[in-house]
């Protein structure tokens, strides 16, 4: 509950997204605009899902805890569904307005991801700056760090989902959309199990790695290009090495 926690958690959660923004998006004004549009679409989807949850909650008007929790789970699932629907709508908008879709694939997912991460974490973050002790009533003291990592995983996942989703739409592979939806549902459902065990975090990261690999191959990467990148070589030198063998 100090500046250290604040900055630490802020950078854990938003550092990679900020780096991605600075290196890939900030240079191109068009991408910044698409980023903001993506954030807007996510916001509208959240609005819609909150509205539905709110209506359901006021209509049932039941105050006991399990019913509230059920309603909340219903709200979460509806929210995931609506988010994916809006991702599709966003794809349609981008398709209509820009031919060079390939270059803005990561931007779309990042727009969603940043907005999602910010909305879920920023209030917690601002509380961490103030006085207090975490876990004084028996809750785990790593609350802030857990939330930060969860936010990070969500942001990166949204970006990968964006890439895979758009590619699926472009190539008309509709099963891809279904897989993205199911993965999203899975990650959200993972948070239903006790947040204190950290298991959901580990599973979410495993899903992140898998989705990342999928997105990498979908966007044209290959083992060879990865090797080129890691060894800091260009294509010719690799070819040369192979030929000389």
């Amino acid at each position: 509950m100090t500046a250290a926690v604040f900055f630490g958690c802020a950078f854990v959660a938003f550092g990679p997204a900020l780096a991605l923004y600075i290196f890939t998006i900030a240079t191109e004004p068009l991408r910044i605009i698409f980023l903001i549009i993506g954030a807007f679409f996510w916001l509208v989807s959240l609005l819609l899902s909150s509205f539905i949850w709110f209506m359901a909650a006021t209509l049932t008007d039941n105050k006991d805890e399990p019913r509230q929790r059920d309603l909340l789970i219903f709200g979460v699932l509806i929210s995931v569904l609506i988010q994916e629907m809006f991702r599709f709508a966003y794809y349609k908008l981008l398709k209509k307005s820009s031919e060079g879709l390939k270059s803005i694939n990561p931007v779309s997912g990042l727009g969603f991801g940043i907005m999602s991460g910010v909305f879920s974490f920023v209030n917690t973050l601002s509380d961490s700056l103030g006085p207090g002790t975490v876990g004084i009533h028996g809750d785990p003291p790593q609350f802030f760090l857990n939330s930060a990592f969860m936010t990070l995983v969500i942001i990166l996942l949204h970006m990968f989902w964006g890439i895979v989703f758009f590619d699926g739409c472009e190539k008309k592979k509709w099963y891809t959309l279904l897989v993205v939806l199911l993965t999203h549902l899975l990650v959200s459902a993972l948070t239903f199990i006790s947040p204190y065990s950290g298991l959901n975090l580990v599973l979410a990261y495993i899903i992140l790695v898998l989705t990342g690999i999928w997105a990498f191959f979908v966007s044209g990467g290959s083992c060879r290009s990865l090797k080129l990148c890691l060894l800091c070589q260009d294509k010719d030198s690799l070819l040369f090495n192979q030929r000389s063998r």
């Binding site: 903001i36 899902s49 909150s50 999602s116 948070t191």
Partner: protein, 447 residues
């Protein structure tokens, strides 16, 4: 209000009505430039009119050269999109900065959220017992405020029509003096109080004097563009803070709504005061007198064939955006003028002679955007989500307005779309999204 800005520059040799690119270019927005003003030192004129289309025929060279041969149309389109995007970003950045300053101040300095009386323009109090009475009072406050603004604007238009330039300039100078010295002094005092930093009077005097004097010079005379932009952002933020402090809750929201409607009417109706102002300025071929206008004009000429001294002068002179007296009027509340850039490969010139037209937005728009976001930050019960939602909504509104500008190519009001989105998102986020997100956070669920 959004309008186009022409470039000053190489065309002053030709007649002043040139500078229209050919309509045959696939992206019409790239073709538009404004008329040229010939004011000495005032630089480019800003107003493009639809009527300048007849210039196409008069200028066969431009007509022919505009669609650069050999360039595929898709590339033209993409370039125009990129150019347009650059100008959108040129507006995003200052609007964002202004909002950041306002939100940071609101969240840290308690002075601006304390209720310490009201302006005389909103005489009805909101401390009433019943909801209906409160609503009625806020509507009455709004009516008074809007009528004050309307009267002030009409007064300004009348003064302009009868060429009382000295009076207008004097008025503008008085109001920017007040903003730059008095409000800055108060702001500095409150910030120092919040952070418990002691400052002696001589230092204070020196600081405020320097700040204010440089501000006056930059805004009303010549100065580096960046400095002028920074000063405009600061005075817009100061003005917005004053409104946030002194406007009562409900009145503020109703006023925001009403001023968007007024903006729409004033800019688009044939007899609207702002439209008449624009048309008068166009008739006289003057830049609309540069009050309350943020200009991001990056006018640069690289490797220019003929150096033109007057355009050089124009390069430094910023559009003197001046703050009107804050209590009297918001001046042109929505005076955003957006200027369209030409395509690179501007007809007839080499690429180097290209000038970046900038984008202009009225300071009134800055102020009201910041008022909306600041109010969201002040009253959102410590909630950042509402503030962020309003911020994104306003940026999207601005984006849409610029898109419309590209389509319609005439002066457009910048307030309505953004403020509407902002209001919708404020109320819905505060009442619907916030409980949802709070409940999710308390159960540590993730969507």
């Amino acid at each position: 209000m959004l309008t186009f800005m022409a470039s000053d520059s190489e065309e002053e040799v030709c007649d002043e009505r040139t500078s229209l690119m050919s309509a045959e270019s696939p992206m019409p927005r790239s073709c538009q430039e404004g008329r040229q003003g010939l004011e000495n030192g005032e630089g480019a004129a800003q107003w493009r009119g639809q009527e300048s289309e007849e210039d196409h025929e008069e200028d066969p060279d431009r007509y022919v050269c505009s669609g650069v041969p050999g360039r595929p149309p898709g590339l033209e389109e993409e370039l125009t999109l990129k150019y347009g995007a650059k100008h959108v970003i040129m507006l995003f950045v200052p609007v964002t900065l202004c909002m950041i300053v306002v939100v940071a101040t609101i969240k840290s300095v308690r002075f601006y959220t304390e209720k310490n009386g009201q302006l005389i323009y909103t005489p009805f109090t909101e401390d009433t017992s019943s909801v209906g009475q409160r609503f009625l009072n806020s509507v009455l406050n709004t009516l008074i405020m809007i009528s004050v603004i309307v009267i002030m604007t009409i007064f300004l238009v009348v003064l302009y029509k009868y060429r009382c330039y000295k009076f207008i300039h004097g008025w503008l100078i008085m109001s920017s003096l007040m903003l730059l010295f008095l409000f800055t002094y108060i702001y500095l005092g409150e910030v120092l109080k919040t952070y418990n930093v002691a400052m002696d009077y001589p230092t204070l005097l020196l600081t405020v004097w320097n700040f204010g004097a440089v501000g006056m010079v930059c805004i009303h005379w010549k100065g580096p563009l960046v400095l002028q932009q920074a000063y405009l952002i600061m005075i817009s933020a100061l003005m917005a803070l004053v409104f946030i402090k002194y406007l009562p809750e409900w009145s503020a929201w109703v006023i925001l709504g009403a001023i968007s409607v007024y903006d729409l009417v004033a800019v688009l109706c044939p007899k609207g005061p702002l439209r008449m102002l624009v048309e008068t300025a166009q008739e006289r071929n003057e830049p609309i007198f540069p009050a309350l206008i943020y200009s991001s004009a990056m006018v640069w000429t690289v490797g220019m064939a003929k150096l033109d001294p007057s355009s050089q002068g124009a390069l430094q002179l910023p559009y003197d955006p001046e703050m009107e007296d804050s209590y009297d009027s918001l001046g042109e509340p929505s005076y955003p003028e957006v200027f369209e850039p030409p395509l690179p490969g501007y007809p007839g010139e080499e690429l180097e002679e290209e000038e970046e037209r900038g984008v202009k937005l009225g300071l009134g728009d800055f102020i009201f955007y910041s008022v909306l976001v600041g109010k969201a930050a002040a009253t959102g019960s410590g909630d950042w989500n509402t503030t962020l939602a309003c911020f994104v909504a306003i940026l999207i509104g601005l984006c849409l307005t610029l898109l419309l500008l590209a389509v319609f190519k005439k002066a457009l009001p910048a307030l309505p779309i953004s403020i509407t989105f902002g209001l919708i998102f404020y109320f819905s986020t505060d009442n619907l999204v916030r409980p949802f997100m709070d409940t999710l956070a308390s159960h540590q669920l993730c969507i």
